[in-house]
Assembly symmetry: C2
Homo-oligomer: 369 residues x 2
């Protein structure tokens, strides 16, 4: 616990001396090919990285994980990365590992920061967030054998199961599909989807979940176009998008799945404004605002993401995390199934209808007053 | 920048050799009293701490600041510490300092964590948050001459201007007073206060700001009791408290100041439920939920708090921060004046009345649609 795999671990697994491991890393030509292969297999199996080891041998410190924390975004949904950071810090603490923060304006700037932190031997491994298509950070780290794990899949690569790229992610597809199925059962077949503009790996994944559920329910493709809108992740943009949806899509839908709680709140405001605060809506991320206003939402389970990230980084194979593996028995990747949190009715509904509380339970005391 | 004061700095200011500084710290008896006093004065002036220096001399690293990050609270207002952490990380980064996170269940547990981090030479200085009455952490740190600064005043001590305890805080008294004065001008003299139960230094400070403004406006003390309620910082508790206020205080007040946006949201829900979504309400912390729902709020200016904290820690006296000093010319403490963010009307009001947007500006496009 608290330590990444060491050169001793590699030597033990490969049944060679520490010096042989060092030779394989630094002067591979002098090592017999058979031995070399065995050592390299042990290195891959354990996830051993020489960078981290070098620092730790010098300083005898507990492992330190670098995480980027961006300047504050004034959004509602941005909070999910803050919640992940809380969970990661708590899980790291339990393993005697430390979280060190840095900032960067973009992916390229983050690479510069990582380079600086490695030069200073400040950090042993990195947890990257907000993966994107053509993400330059992961190639850079892989080339230099720096240990890392991403919260987010490597969108756009041919092979997401590459064992060198460790990742944990939340299965937005199944989360959106479950939310849509729930609304199809409860509200009717005209379940709309309010997403982000195309090009976000996470957003596109959630949209596919809605499409799959609508397809399974037999809603013809011709109907789907009128049930879909997109907006940047701000309440005011979401309101406009829902107004467009109503005007061009033939009125208010039966229900709505939103790619975030921010979008869900915009939808709820429009619905309330036309006297329909009871419109069934499901958002994403189960933020405090969804809890406070009684909006149903898909919970990302950031504690499981954090636990999975550290386990992958430490090469732990056993897991108490409830996940389905990515592929069959894939030990290098975790796809966490999110949880649909259903709240019965919005707090914006008239008092005699609103029953939900912050905890998602239905507190009847308010009504007995 | 990026470095706490060094032994060289002390030697230069005291006009002695490094060895003499070392003697004063380790074998003070062999140093002439006059020299000793001069060195100690330089140490105090610069805020030099031997712990930090020892670590840095060994490792040649940039300074690392330890900050406690607690397990996630599912509240709305808790986000202010997350926002402070974002600002602190950004400001530290600009000074080539690093933020290292740890967790603790309570103040005593935090002391244990700090001890461990100091033993491991992992951290040079600490930024403590959530100061409380009889806070055991600060005495522990002062005794061991560990550099620290608190976000929050040392509530309950006799002398808040003790130069050994560096602190930055937001002037909740003036924030609440300004909010109350604003509502007195706009809405009438029956401005209620919804606070937390007594015993919170921060909450009591805000309450005094309301009392001061009401006193200045000539509202007799006899009326004030019926205009005040308290609740734990949860929406459902806030709703109950406002219902109590209405029942026992003689109906809906003209306006309401709340000690947090969470409490403000509860008040807004009650007001909306009885057909008064236009009740003027001011919350505290200017959270995303206040922005999204169009609730006026007092902004804590966490970026200025973060800048002030690092400046005090580094012994920087010059400041670009707009503050009023605590006491006259006090260079060891900063009391930041918060900013009242006025939003014209709540988004829960009917569409033809709601005009505010996320940015606090008044976007008329929605109405022109």
């Amino acid at each position: 616990m608290g330590q990444l795999p060491t050169v001793e671990d590699v030597a033990r697994v490969a049944q060679v001396s520490r010096q042989t491991v060092s030779n394989v890393l630094n002067t591979p030509d002098i090592v017999r090919p058979e031995t070399r292969d065995r050592v390299r297999a042990a290195i891959d199996q354990l996830g051993y990285r020489p960078h981290a080891s070098a620092r730790r041998l010098r300083t005898q410190k507990s492992s330190t994980i670098g995480v980027r924390l961006d300047p504050l975004q004034n959004g509602i949904s941005g909070g999910v990365l803050d919640r992940f950071l809380h969970a990661l810090t708590e899980q790291a603490d339990a393993r005697n590992m430390r979280i060190l923060l840095y900032t960067a304006p973009d992916h390229e700037g983050e690479i510069e920061q990582i380079r600086r932190l490695l030069d200073g031997a400040d950090v042993d491994a990195f947890v990257l967030t907000a993966t994107s298509y053509d993400d330059p950070r992961t190639d850079w780290l892989l080339e230099r054998r720096v240990p890392f794990v991403t919260f987010g899949r490597p969108w756009g690569v041919d092979d997401m199961s590459d064992p060198k790229h460790l990742w944990v992610d939340v299965d937005g597809f199944s989360g959106a599909r479950e939310a849509t199925e729930h609304l199809l059962r409860r509200a009717g077949r005209r379940v709309a989807f309010l997403g982000w503009p195309h090009g976000s790996g996470t957003g596109d994944d959630r949209r596919r979940g809605w499409l799959a559920a609508m397809g399974d329910a037999g809603v013809p493709e011709a109907e789907l176009a009128g049930l879909e809108e997109a907006a940047e992740d701000r309440v005011v943009e979401a309101r406009k998008a829902v107004e467009r949806l109503i005007q061009t899509g033939g009125g208010l839908p039966d229900a709505l799945v939103a790619a975030s709680d921010t979008l869900a709140l915009g939808a709820l405001m429009v619905a309330s404004g036309i006297g329909r605060p009871d419109l069934p809506i499901v958002g994403f991320d189960n933020t405090p605002i969804a809890q406070a206003l009684g909006i149903s939402s898909v919970e990302q389970r950031v504690d499981q993401v954090a636990e999975g990230a550290l386990q992958l980084l430490m090469g732990e194979t056993g897991s108490s995390v409830v996940t389905h593996d990515f592929g069959s028995g894939d030990p290098k990747h975790r796809l966490i199934t999110p949880k649909l949190v259903v709240r019965r009715s919005s707090h914006l509904a008239p008092a005699e209808e609103a029953g939900g509380t912050e905890s998602g339970n239905h507190n009847r005391k308010d009504k007995q007053r």
